[in-house]
Symmetry: C2
Subunit: 259 residues, 2 copies
């Protein structure tokens, strides 16, 4: 009886494998996967075959490499429409972006990481390179902290435990204690700031999107660089950011968005 980290039978293993391929972000050969996989050759081979049959992976005959398959794009379309805040938040994000003229992000939490579900880029007519679907760390982004600050009890501990606490810059919070203190602060403050904790020169203000009952659905942020605005200037945007968050929450409530 051995415990392979965490998995739901064969399906779990298959999906873990799919993740491995996807997160590499480039075509991979069988052998390379074998090296990082916990499974023996034959098992991995069949997992990959199954995933390929199913269109979850694409196999390039010529190069003998695997990549994530297009079936995922199709499935994600539905997920994005139904389970993300993006469709609901759209007009509000548009308005906010127009008003502040800076980059605006909309994010939700997915297994301890921040998942960006929509974005407005002030200047260029959209960096269409799929920002939706990108993931980022929770402990050193404005949206991540804003969301975590409003998680309760177990969910919060869970999220905190999943953080990597890698020191990206010298302001990055690198301990659970520091993060917890910051989250309490954010909770009472109502907004979160990213003080160059993820990337030097990049700062943001973020507000949680909270339901009537206090459940956190996601967060949104306005991001800028220290060369353009100071933290103080950013914090002047608080009313706009918060009211946008509230409007999104209200719209979600009307639409009966699942929590």
């Amino acid at each position: 009886m051995n415990k392979p980290a965490s998995s739901d039978g064969t399906v779990g293993k298959a999906l873990e494998t799919l993740d491995m391929v996807a997160e590499l972000g480039r075509p991979v050969r069988f052998t390379e996967l074998l090296a990082m996989s916990p499974h023996p050759k034959a098992t991995l081979y069949r997992l990959l075959q199954t995933l390929t049959n199913q269109g979850m992976l694409a196999y390039d005959e010529a190069r003998q490499t695997y990549s994530p398959g297009l079936r995922l794009v199709r499935l994600a379309h539905f997920a994005w429409r139904q389970s993300s805040l993006a469709p609901i938040a759209r007009p509000h994000l548009d308005a906010l972006a127009a008003a502040v003229g800076e980059t605006v992000h909309l994010a939700q939490m997915d297994r301890g990481q921040v998942l960006y579900v929509d974005k407005r880029n002030a200047v260029d007519p959209i960096e269409m390179f799929s920002q939706a679907g990108k993931v980022g760390p929770g402990y050193c982004t404005g949206v991540g902290k804003a969301i975590m600050a409003h998680l309760e009890g177990e969910a919060r501990q869970n999220a905190i435990n999943q953080q990597a606490f890698f020191r990206h810059t010298n302001t990055t919070l690198t301990t659970t204690e520091a993060l917890e203190a910051e989250l309490d602060e954010i909770r009472s403050e109502g907004v979160a700031f990213d003080r160059e904790e993820h990337e030097p020169g990049i700062i943001c203000i973020a507000a949680p999107i909270l339901t009537e009952g206090g459940r956190v659905l996601g967060a949104l942020s306005v991001t800028t660089s220290t060369s353009r605005q100071s933290l103080e200037q950013l914090s002047d945007l608080r009313p706009k950011v918060q009211s946008t968050a509230i409007k999104i929450a209200e719209t979600a409530e009307v639409w009966q968005f699942p929590t």
Copy 2:
């Protein structure tokens, strides 16, 4: 020994179930799924549990409903970047859209259906998975026919066999014979037209994206309405559409896009 359509063991069943939930496009209750599922109660129950654990489905406690989960969005991000033509085609689509001032679609084939992987809308800018990830029929869209026309032998028959041949309008092709004749025509012509076959008043011109070796990677189209342009006017765009298709193919070749 019974043959449940087509499946790869447990993983196949799980993914089929995931598809079912996703394609309904709205939250579903257990019982509703049970009705359409080939599996007994307990089996379906556990499949759903597994998928939920894995983040492929989201379960709304309050409403007791399942929806596609956000993990899909995250996975699809990678799929879209790696396995779709969209990143490669981006500048070319931009240019074409600017030149023609009409809606431009980029599509690939996924299991007999047209999968739109990018879009330019003359007016409003795009949101990621709202357009990308959408699927449409193959037999009555310009892109669908353009792609199928350049599939060879078995692949082509396969694609044809997967068509539903539902009569959307009175110009819709509703038999394999009619479609095959049309595909031959398209192949020799080089471009495909949608003559209001899918929606009344909507017409388009589409060109296949072909590799050096004649393999079809996808197709792109310019869509308009009969109130704005006639078929004849649309066909004047042929040079622009075709040269864009060629440029995309060349870029794909340089980038070693997997076929």
